[in-house]
């Protein structure tokens, strides 16, 4: 900060800092109370794990904790440098969760901010509150019932005008504390919060790097697999059909000289082969970038998929802003694969596709009421889903207990 040019400028700066500090501390108090409540609820969730039900709550609850911590990160970022979020995808197993440093750090932060952070913010915020309250004591003490009208947080009762003015006279002390101490308290609290909420210097960054490396490798893998798939489709499909066209044309020319009658059935097969080649080319093209996606957008394309599904399917698409073409075509592929699985294996009576864009995340859910037991194994469509989603740095979860129902949940970043 550059030094203020004049005396009045310096005073203005001090007051501005004090006002900002009051706001920071108030918001800190809010997130502190939230953290306290969350910490208490975390205890409850942990306790409920002892009787079993809690295990189902762990993952959603970790999301809640992350949301609370992110809220505090946003508060800290508002009044200073941004605090990078350390989160990778949620751990999938208990052992992995125990080793996830971000979860440990979050829990420590939750308790410390909930208890100590709230207290510190409360004290810092007390100064401006008291300064205003005591200064205005002569204005309001008569309006309140005698036992309510007090100063110093109710420690001293105001019973007369004289006392009211004495209380008002203490206001400059609070004002001074506010101007001098509150900003320091706010700074102290922010430094502390930042230290706890930023990614752990070594571990978390390396985790993020390895996560990015993995997603990049997955992208390359998926890309190579995709090229291989296209090459195979072209080779086994269109190319072989065209070879047949060349071959049978040769046969027809051979025959036509001797017996034109005999050439006709061969020419018919030539025509069939050419038509098949065209059909297969269309299929390949559609699998690369479905034209329906281009023409009718994600909503239209997915509705068409739903309508084609052998199992009655409700499609809900809530996407107002279009996503990148790659994300849309992955979303389309995910739904297409999932619905193919539904029609082929699930034995379901009905299915539902929900696609929603929240901020920079596209959430896709495909559920059915079939027999369940679906798993991503070698060569299954679900593996393809996981691969393609990971290539976009997204997450895919397949929840399919034996006996059903099946839920495929995919989140794709689309910022």
């Amino acid at each position: 900060m550059s030094p203020p040019r004049s005396r009045s400028g310096a005073v203005a700066t001090v007051f501005r800092r004090a006002l900002t500090a009051a706001g920071r501390l108030f918001l800190g108090l809010v997130t502190g109370m939230l953290a306290l409540v969350t910490a208490a609820a975390t205890l409850a969730v942990t306790a409920s794990c002892l009787i079993g039900v809690g295990w189902f709550l762990v993952r959603p609850w970790l999301r809640v904790i992350r949301a609370v911590a992110d809220l505090e990160r946003r508060r800290l970022a508002r009044f200073g440098e941004p605090v990078p979020s350390p989160y990778g995808p949620l751990p999938t197993g208990i052992a992995e969760g125990f080793h996830d440093p971000s979860i440990r750090r979050d829990l420590v932060w939750l308790v410390s901010h909930g208890v100590a952070g709230s207290l510190v913010c409360l004290i810092g915020f007390q100064f401006p509150v008291n300064a205003v309250r005591e200064a205005t004591a002569p204005l309001w003490w008569t309006l309140l019932p005698p036992e309510e009208a007090g100063a110093l947080n109710g420690l001293v009762q105001i019973t007369s005008w004289r006392e009211a003015f004495i209380v008002a006279a203490t206001s400059p002390v609070w004002l001074a504390l506010w101007l001098v101490v509150s900003p320091r308290i706010a700074d102290f609290q922010a430094r502390w919060g930042r230290r706890m909420l930023r990614p752990h210097p070594g571990v978390d960054l390396s985790a993020r790097v390895s996560q990015l490396t993995a997603s990049r490798a997955a992208a390359l893998d998926a890309h190579a697999a995709e090229l291989r798939r296209i090459e195979r489709a072209l080779h086994d499909g269109a190319q072989n059909r065209l070879v047949a066209v060349a071959m049978l044309t040769g046969a027809a020319r051979q025959v036509v000289r001797r017996d034109p009658e005999q050439a006709d059935p061969i020419l018919e097969r030539v025509q069939d082969a050419a038509e098949q080649a065209l059909a297969e080319l269309r299929t390949v093209v559609r699998s690369i970038l479905p034209p329906v996606l281009e023409n009718r957008g994600l909503a239209g394309a997915l509705s068409a998929l739903g309508a084609d599904c052998a199992v009655p399917c409700t499609v809900t698409v809530d996407v107002t802003v279009r996503c990148a073409a790659g994300v849309e075509s992955t979303a389309y592929f995910v739904v297409a694969e999932a619905l193919t699985n539904v029609s082929r294996h699930s034995g379901a009576n009905e299915s539902a596709v929900t696609v929603r864009r929240t901020g920079d995340v596209l959430r896709i859910e495909v559920r059915d009421d079939g027999r369940g037991g679906a798993a991503a194994g070698d060569g299954s469509g679900l593996t393809g889903i996981v691969r393609r989603v990971e290539a976009h740095d997204g997450t895919a979860r397949i929840d399919s207990p034996v006996g059903g129902p099946t839920l495929v949940e995919v989140e794709l970043p689309c910022g």
Binding site: V243, A244, A246, M247, L248, A251, R253, Q254
Partner: protein, 215 residues
């Protein structure tokens, strides 16, 4: 000439059999995979096997491996490999055990029926048929190799024709020159490439390919 066909695509398999039968070739069996080919070869002892490169299970080079195995099981079996695209390493794999009765052609050559059947007969009689596409790929790769740079354009044309498996008379006919000048060109090519001249066509091809592969 008795032929066994191995091709996993049913339409192509039937088309091939149709074309060959119409030309009076005796197609004794057709198979859809490498095992079927080996079984058909041992059951029918054909003169020549026509084999697709890509077959189940992995659709990569099963055909080449099956062809090599079939030749080991029945020495002297001629093999004509068909492929949707050319890959020179396939050609060299095939030629490892010698070039007598080996052919490697693009699938669409089948459409030029009389040329295809001529090549097939040449292979069945112990000759060689290498697709011009393979040869030009080899040449493209080796073009910078300095020794080939010493050849005249005509000598290079003659060398490609030799690599395809054409005999002197066929080469003379293709370039409208006399047999004598073909001889002269070949002697000159061998001299420039440091190869001892040899009359047998398949050994010439082997020498050419081996030379190309070794450098």
């Amino acid at each position: 000439m008795r032929v066994v066909i191995a091709e996993d695509d049913a339409l192509l398999r039937e088309g091939l059999a149709l074309v060959l039968r119409a030309e009076g070739v005796d197609v004794v069996a057709s198979a859809a995979d490498p095992d079927g080919l080996l079984a058909a070869v041992s059951a029918h002892r054909p003169d020549v096997a026509v084999v697709d490169v890509r077959m189940p299970p992995t659709h990569t080079d099963e055909g080449i491996r099956a062809a090599v195995a079939a030749r080991r099981a029945q020495p002297g079996l001629a093999v004509l490999v068909l492929s949707a695209y050319v890959e020179e390493s396939f050609a060299t794999d095939l030629l490892v055990d010698g070039s007598r009765g080996v052919g490697y052609l693009l699938k669409e050559r089948v459409g030029r029926v009389s040329e295809f059947v001529t090549a097939l007969r040449r292979v069945a009689e112990g000759g060689t048929a290498i697709d011009p596409e393979v040869v030009s790929q080899l040449f493209a790769r080796r073009r910078s190799a300095d020794r080939l740079a010493g050849l005249t354009p005509r000598e290079r044309e003659v060398l490609s024709a030799m690599a395809e498996g054409l005999g002197n008379t066929a080469i003379a006919a293709r370039f409208f020159i006399t047999d004598n000048s073909v001889h002269k060109h070949i002697r000159s090519i061998f001299a420039k490439l440091g190869l001892s001249p040899d009359g047998e066509s398949d050994r010439r091809v082997a020498a050419v390919l081996r030379y190309l592969d070794a450098t």
